[in-house]
């Protein structure tokens, strides 16, 4: 009896440690412990730990959107230009109109994100374009529009109550960390406890089978791209609040960071697999690595090498796990 109990416990532990997000959590703890010894005066401080979470929040929020897209079998390369386009449009209108209501600014940013996602979704689900091509095209469009609006230079926005998303604190906790927590919890509930959320996995696993079971795959595809677009808006809002400006290069290259965070966190690039929790720890690991580079003064040339190695290692774990199955 005890033997079978031990066996069950062993299997549970084996399963627990086979989860990629758990491996990432362990890696985070190891790096954290190392830094506590290496930089005891500057690393384990409330300020620095919240700073890491603050930096992780932008990756994490984007990676939640990107994660849902990847789970559904797609990819969104337009997230960076979506961010820039939304905030540049809002800041441009605000500047030209001599100042508009912050609520309108917020609304404009989210409208752009929604439209971006909708166009991506329609191009992929209805027109039948490959996600890589459709979103790459939108990346270019968004970048161009942001440049047209800003003439290449950041547009000043200044401060209003919406700046609290990027620069506000609740006690010692940055508001953007709270925003990240809310987004992650909502996304977790959505994917785990709602039918639509579970359908995303079904579509990513086997779109034909999902379609045969009555799931409207097109609608699911459009939905995930729209959610991803809205996540971009949220990150844009945070950036604008933090930097008090809106520039055409804001968010540039963030698509790769978001994909990296999602993949490190265990989301399979072939779709149908992965958890929102994993995405969050993937984003935290990326922010922690960047903090590590500064804390122990890793030479510049090595920083990108290390980041690349972590991404390769994560994808390799995913590939090996599948191979064993």
């Amino acid at each position: 009896m005890q033997k079978s109990g031990n066996k069950v416990l062993g299997e549970k532990l084996k399963y627990f440690f086979s989860q990629q997000e758990i491996i990432v959590v362990i890696l985070i703890l190891i790096i954290g412990l190392f830094l506590c010894f290496a930089r005891p005066d500057s690393f384990p401080t409330t300020l620095n730990l919240f700073n890491i979470l603050k930096q992780a929040s932008q990756y994490a929020i984007l990676a939640v959107g990107m994660g849902l897209v990847i789970i559904a079998g797609g990819i969104d390369l337009s997230v960076g230009s979506n961010i820039a386009c939304g905030i540049c449009l809002a800041a441009y209108i605000n500047e030209k109109a001599g100042g508009i209501s912050p609520f309108l600014v917020l609304l404009l940013i989210f409208i752009v994100g929604f439209v971006f996602g909708l166009i991506n979704g329609i191009l992929i689900a209805k027109v039948g374009l490959p996600p890589f091509i459709a979103t790459m095209g939108m990346l270019s469009v968004g970048e161009g529009v942001a440049l047209l609006l800003s003439n290449g230079s950041p547009i000043k926005y200044g401060e209003s109550w919406i700046s609290v998303f990027g620069g506000g604190y609740l006690g010692p906790v940055p508001v953007q960390v709270i925003v990240m927590a809310v987004v992650v919890i909502l996304a977790w509930i959505f994917t785990k406890y709602t039918v639509v959320g579970r359908n995303i996995y079904a579509v990513g696993n086997n779109p034909r089978a999902a379609s045969l079971t009555g799931i409207n795959t097109s609608r699911i595809s459009i939905l995930v791209y729209v959610i991803c677009g809205l996540m971009c808006s949220l990150v844009g809002l945070i950036m604008m609040g933090q930097l008090k400006q809106a520039g055409p290069s804001y968010g540039s290259g963030y698509e790769l960071d978001a994909i990296a965070a999602a993949v490190i966190g265990g989301i399979s690039m072939s779709g149908g697999e992965g958890r929102i929790f994993g995405v969050t720890v993937g984003a935290i690991l990326m922010a922690l690595l960047r903090n590590l580079f500064v804390q122990i003064a890793v030479p510049g040339y090595w920083q990108t090498v290390v980041l690349g190695l972590v991404i390769i290692a994560s994808v390799s774990v995913d590939a090996l796990r599948k191979h064993r199955r």
Binding site: G152, S153, L243, S252, N291, A297, G300, Q303
Partner: protein, 397 residues
């Protein structure tokens, strides 16, 4: 009597004969004369012909001269007409706060000239260069010259190589480029072989046959930054460098220029060098991390784009005035930070003229053969909280 008659008749006959002979001798002379006359006539005719020919030639020459004069007159009139439909160099009005380092020659291109000017447009420095490029385009538009301002997404050498190759294939007469790195040399040499004039700005490509270079010596600018750090920290202290990219020639020259000064001072401690890819948000995060890891950080040098992010991070950390922030390019994105003292030293490199001058010099070379001097180094304009408003009034209107 008969005898007398006979003698008279004989005499008469003799006389007759003599006269006949005489006459015949006279006719020979006459013949001779007539022949001579004929010859003379012929000669006269030849002379006349020659004279006629000469006269004709003269007439032709006169006609030609008249035609030439008429053509010259027409050309003069055309030139006068041309000069009236383009703004003369001396009459060009520079944008507010800018000085034009070159003026276009007062000559309109006979055949259309095409000049490509390439630059990164998605950062504030690039945007300031584009303002200069666009102004050159505007100035040369009425001189039968088309200037295409071409955007490149980043400082990635491959993107620049593609852009240059495309311009070469398009048959431009001149190409103005930011000499991002030596990796551009092959493409530039190919363009030169194709008869295209190449002008570089900001970064230089000295191993190519480019016509001229414009900008500030990045190494010297790095030296200026290093000296500013040394001056700000007389008792030594910690400092850090945030650079655009390690692979960008100009950024590296600035970074090493700074290091060559600061490394000489033992009391200065470099805590790290990081890439921000010209991104303000990355600069913000790196600065925050640097301040957290080194609460006693005293100076920060941002070699390229995104100093606004670093300045905002210093403000958010409550370290404004405690950290000496040194950066490049006095632009609208950093104007407020210089004014309030968050940025202590900002080294301006005249991005407007980096965009404008190479294009105008290329035009002058193509149209009038005016070859510019090879190295056109701009002096560094050092802005600080005390002088920024007087040096760059246009940013504070």
């Amino acid at each position: 009597m008969k005898r007398i008659k006979t003698i008279v008749s004989l005499l008469l006959t003799v006389l007759l004969l003599i006269s006949i002979v005489g006459c015949s001798g006279k006719s020979d002379d006459a013949k001779k004369d007539s022949d001579d006359k004929k010859e003379d006539t012929k000669k006269e005719e030849v002379v006349e012909e020659k004279a006629e020919e000469k006269a004709e030639e003269k007439e032709e020459k006169e006609e030609e001269k008249a035609e030439e004069k008429a053509e010259e007159k027409e050309e003069k009139e055309e030139a006068e007409e041309d000069s009236s439909d383009f703004t003369k160099g001396a009459d060009i009005v520079a944008p507010e706060g800018k000085v034009l380092r070159s003026l276009p020659v007062d000559q309109k291109a006979e055949e259309k000239i095409r000049i490509a000017s390439i630059c990164v447009q998605n950062n504030p420095w690039g945007a300031a260069v584009v303002v200069g490029q666009e102004f050159a385009k505007e100035v040369l538009a009425d001189r039968n010259c088309v200037v295409d301002v071409i955007a490149v997404k980043s400082f990635d050498a491959m993107e620049w190589v593609s852009a240059i190759d495309n311009c070469t294939a398009s048959g431009y007469d001149a190409i103005c480029i930011f000499g991002v790195s030596d990796e551009l040399n092959d493409s530039v040499n190919k363009a030169i072989e194709a008869g295209i004039e190449i002008y570089t700005f900001n970064g230089d490509l000295p191993d190519t046959e480019r016509i001229a270079w414009y900008g500030m010596d990045d190494y010297a600018a790095g030296n200026v930054a290093g000296e500013a750090i040394v001056e700000a920290l007389p008792d030594g202290g910690k400092y850090a460098i945030i650079t655009g990219r390690f692979s960008v020639y100009g950024h590296e020259k600035r970074r090493t220029g700074c290091r060559d000064i600061t490394d000489e001072v033992e009391s200065l401690n470099l805590v790290g060098e990081y890439e921000n890819d010209d991104d303000a948000d990355t600069a913000y995060n790196l600065t925050t991390d640097l301040i957290n890891a080194n609460p006693d950080l005293s100076a920060l040098y941002v070699t390229a784009g995104g100093p606004g992010g670093a300045a905002q991070a210093i403000i958010d950390a409550g370290k404004s005035g405690e950290i000496t922030l040194i950066c490049h390019d006095v632009l609208s994105a950093v104007a407020d930070y210089i004014e309030d003292g968050t940025i202590s030293v900002c080294i301006d490199q005249d991005p407007f003229n980096q965009g404008y001058q190479p294009v105008v010099d290329a035009y002058n070379s193509l149209v009038a053969g005016v070859v510019p001097q090879e190295m056109n180094a701009y002096d560094a304009v050092i802005a600080n909280p005390d002088n920024v408003k007087s040096l760059f009034p246009e940013l504070y209107e």
